[in-house]
């Protein structure tokens, strides 16, 4: 027997705490913009107008909450799967501070209107460079830990982690290419249709490499831990992995159906989107089968609830997504509120659910303690679930209603509804959606309180665990 490994978790804790801060800000801004869509008087010009706040919402959510907690959990998981302490704890601490400065600067510059307008790549070049540096520092740290590992076998989570490191680097760098005009302004290196094609190659693979592979890495690690069952099939995981990262890159143009993008690119995107159901559901089934029939844990173990609910929404998301990628259906729902419904089922139901479970679990382990309150965690679960369901369902209804009104024509070919008639029709849903945001925020507050209390009562000794 070797001496137990001493894992270095201070940066894991730091990233968890800060990602929760950014996540809360994202949700609060999300609520504000959802209110603005129903009551435009709430646009406090110029810094707090909808057009400037919406990118703050998406950036705080994806980069602050999503990427922040992925970094934390990748540090956590990698150390444990390799039975090796983090390669450079100092570098990790530096990364955390640059990360926070970058996210804060992102919020400030976006509020000032410094915005490249390419979705999920809005930050101007100096900040984009800082983001790339953060990513490289983080990647090097994780990769070096893997290189120096004591456990020879690499568990499937490490595969997803490494693919994420490579994938995000390629995507982010290419889509951010541009020519600087001055410190706060640059023009894209690509123009028109090319720019659109590059953007959605990036945009959809941000979904793949940020909102799919990292939560899958986390899911594959924590589900066996939480249930005490081994993963059902490692081989199935591997097949699903390679086909997933192969297919995703072909599908960007499903965001651009019926536009001037060459037809064959649209058709290829459509076909690959449908094929993606297979690897996605490979992961879902692997998750369900890992339960080994012990479904009573859904009642007795609050963490299983979060994880199984999360993978279920992932399953639904990867059925709905391919459907949206079909030309005829896209004609109907593209540009409508259906899409935010899709987005938030994924972001809230899949990504955030898995993150909640992982953060609960990792927090108790790192602090050598139990969770402060299981009833609070259960209340948290129900509030975020209800909030998310109301959000998505109202937006799907609104999307279908507006989509069908916009396409409706009279017998003579003229349009049946004016644009404003369609907007007035969906106003009630905007109001309900805003309420769903408050329900979600209530759940999130319980989560933060619970984690805070658990940190408080824990002991901070960095002992080894299995």
């Amino acid at each position: 027997m070797n001496a137990p490994t001493r894992y270095v978790d201070d940066s894991v804790k730091g990233f968890i705490a800060w990602s929760m801060v950014w996540g809360t800000i994202a949700v609060v801004v999300g609520i504000l913009i959802s209110l603005q869509l129903a009551w435009p008087q709430l646009n406090y010009a110029p810094y707090l107008t909808y057009g400037r706040l919406r990118p703050i919402h998406t950036n705080a959510a994806i980069f602050g909450w999503g990427v922040g907690s992925f970094i934390a959990l990748f540090f956590y998981i990698t150390q444990r799967l390799t039975k090796t302490p983090l390669w450079s704890p100092k570098l990790a601490r530096v990364t955390l501070w640059i990360f926070n400065v970058a996210i804060a600067s992102a919020a400030v510059t976006l509020a000032m209107g410094i915005n490249r307008t390419k979705e999920y790549a809005e930050l101007e070049w100096p900040l984009a460079i800082v983001v790339a540096i953060i990513w490289v520092l983080f990647s090097v740290n994780v990769f070096m830990t893997i290189l120096k590992r004591k456990e020879e076998q690499m568990y499937i989570s490490l595969w997803y982690i490494m693919a994420t490191l490579v994938g995000v680097t390629v995507l982010y760098v290419i889509n951010n290419l541009g020519v600087p005009l001055h410190l706060f302004k640059s023009y894209s290196a690509f123009s028109g249709t090319n720019d659109a094609n590059v953007q959605w190659w990036y945009g959809h693979n941000a979904v793949a490499m940020v909102l799919t592979t990292p939560p899958l890495a986390i899911f594959y690690y924590f589900l066996p831990k939480v249930t005490n069952n081994p993963i059902f099939s490692h081989r199935m995981g591997i097949i699903a992995f390679w086909s997933l990262i192969f297919m995703y890159l072909w599908t960007g143009a499903h965001h651009l159906l019926w536009t001037p993008i060459p037809d064959w690119i649209q058709t290829v995107a459509m076909a690959f989107s449908i094929m993606l159901i297979a690897p996605s559901w490979g992961a879902v089934m692997n998750g369900y089968l890992t339960m080994g029939g012990k479904w009573e844990q859904m009642k007795t173990n609050y963490l299983v609830k979060f994880l199984i609910c999360g993978i279920t929404f992932y399953g639904l998301q990867t059925l709905q997504g391919p459907m949206q990628a079909i030309r005829t259906f896209s004609a109907f729902i593209h540009y409508t509120d259906w899409v935010p419904g899709h987005v938030h089922m994924g972001a809230l139901g899949w990504v955030s659910m898995v993150l909640f479970a992982a953060i609960y679990y990792a927090t108790t382990k790192m602090n050598n303690t139990e969770i402060y309150s299981i009833p609070l965690a259960n209340a948290h679960f129900w509030l975020v679930l209800i909030g998310q369901l109301i959000y998505s369902i109202t937006m799907w209804i609104a999307g279908v209603q507006q989509g069908s009104m916009l396409l409706a024509t009279n017998p003579d070919g003229s349009l049946h509804y004016s644009f404003m008639e369609t907007m007035i029709a969906i106003m009630p849903y905007y109001k309900i959606r805003a309420i769903s945001g408050f329900i979600y925020l209530a759940g999130l507050s319980l989560f933060i309180f619970n984690i805070y209390k658990t940190f408080q009562k824990g002991t901070d000794s960095p002992v080894a665990e299995a």
């Binding site: 435009p40 909808y50 057009g51 979705e119 894209s188 297919m247 072909w250 396409l407 349009l415």
Partner: protein, 294 residues
């Protein structure tokens, strides 16, 4: 083997993601925006229009407005304004593209055709207070754009983007506000490609063709809807006149009215509707606006 060697694994993962990337993203550079896509009439932005475009980006208008008319019939009908669906060649000067992914508001790809007014009165009123024009709108007010335009980088922008410009173009920026710039950009959108104006033909024949709809019952249902959708924002909900003159009980002849609605009076901001409405609907409007009741 793979399960034990992270370096080989990373290289292989990179190769796998580059296959789809190369075929669907890198290879198309060969022909997208190539000579086959070019449209001679499409002109680069002037310094003022480019400033407006940059303001459009600064304000994040793209979060609510798309800029592509899809090839769908309903899209062309709703957002074509007499033009057709969007073509690749119309966007070659757009760095970045501003196609957007949401239509919280209407598509703006051809908005220049919808509001041709050279003074931009409609846009100004609408941007300053959208609800004053369209009461149920949820668009934010952009009155703060009535601020002087910063022209420090205007010339450098033209050079960087490799757009032609003259000293007169630069002089034209003097004393302009941010509002002027964004309106100049709105007015440019979609106007490069000539749209076929049916106006000349129909208005000539209007003098001979008699209005087929002479009674209120025949037109009310259709015409009221058309009016609300296309005319109310400038002539008022009750035809009382706002940006445009009052229309209630107009004393002009049917043929005259037909000609104005069909052909527009571009210079003063009355758009041409020959591309948007067919003759039948225009005749119905003529009957409807002449009424002096309701």
């Amino acid at each position: 083997m793979l399960e034990k060697n992270p370096v080989i694994f990373i290289i292989l993962a990179f190769v796998v993601i580059m296959v789809g990337t190369t075929i669907t993203m890198i290879a198309p550079f060969k022909w997208i925006n190539g000579p086959g896509d070019r449209i001679a009439e499409v002109k680069p932005y002037t310094p003022l229009q480019q400033e407006g475009r940059d303001l459009y980006m600064r304000e994040g208008c793209n979060n609510c407005h798309s800029q592509t008319v899809r090839t769908l019939a309903a899209d062309v009908e709703r957002y074509g304004y007499g033009g057709t669906y969007s073509k690749s060649g119309e966007f070659v000067y757009d760095r970045p593209h501003l196609w957007g992914s949401r239509r919280t508001g209407p598509d703006l790809a051809r908005i220049g055709l919808k509001y041709p007014d050279s003074k931009g009165a409609w846009h100004k009123k609408h941007l300053e207070n959208p609800q004053s024009v369209v009461p149920a709108s949820n668009m934010p007010s952009y009155a703060f754009l009535n601020a002087p335009l910063d022209t420090t980088y205007s010339e450098r922008k033209m050079k960087l983007l490799d757009f032609p410009y003259s000293q007169a173009d630069l002089d034209d920026l003097k004393g302009k506000s941010e509002m002027d710039a964004i309106i100049a950009y709105m007015r440019k959108l979609g106007t490069d490609i000539p749209v076929k104006k049916a106006a000349a033909v129909t208005s000539a024949s209007a003098a001979v063709v008699k209005n087929p709809f002479t009674t209120l019952v025949a037109v009310e249902r259709d015409a009221e809807g058309t009016y609300k959708q296309h005319c109310a924002s400038c002539h008022g909900e009750k035809r009382e006149g706002t940006l445009g003159p009052a229309l209630k009980g107009s004393v002009r002849s049917d043929a005259e009215l037909f000609k104005i609605i069909s052909g527009g009076i571009d210079v003063n901001g009355m758009p041409s509707f020959s591309g948007t409405l067919d003759d039948q609907n225009i005749w119905k409007l003529v009957t409807y606006i002449k009424l002096d009741t309701k």
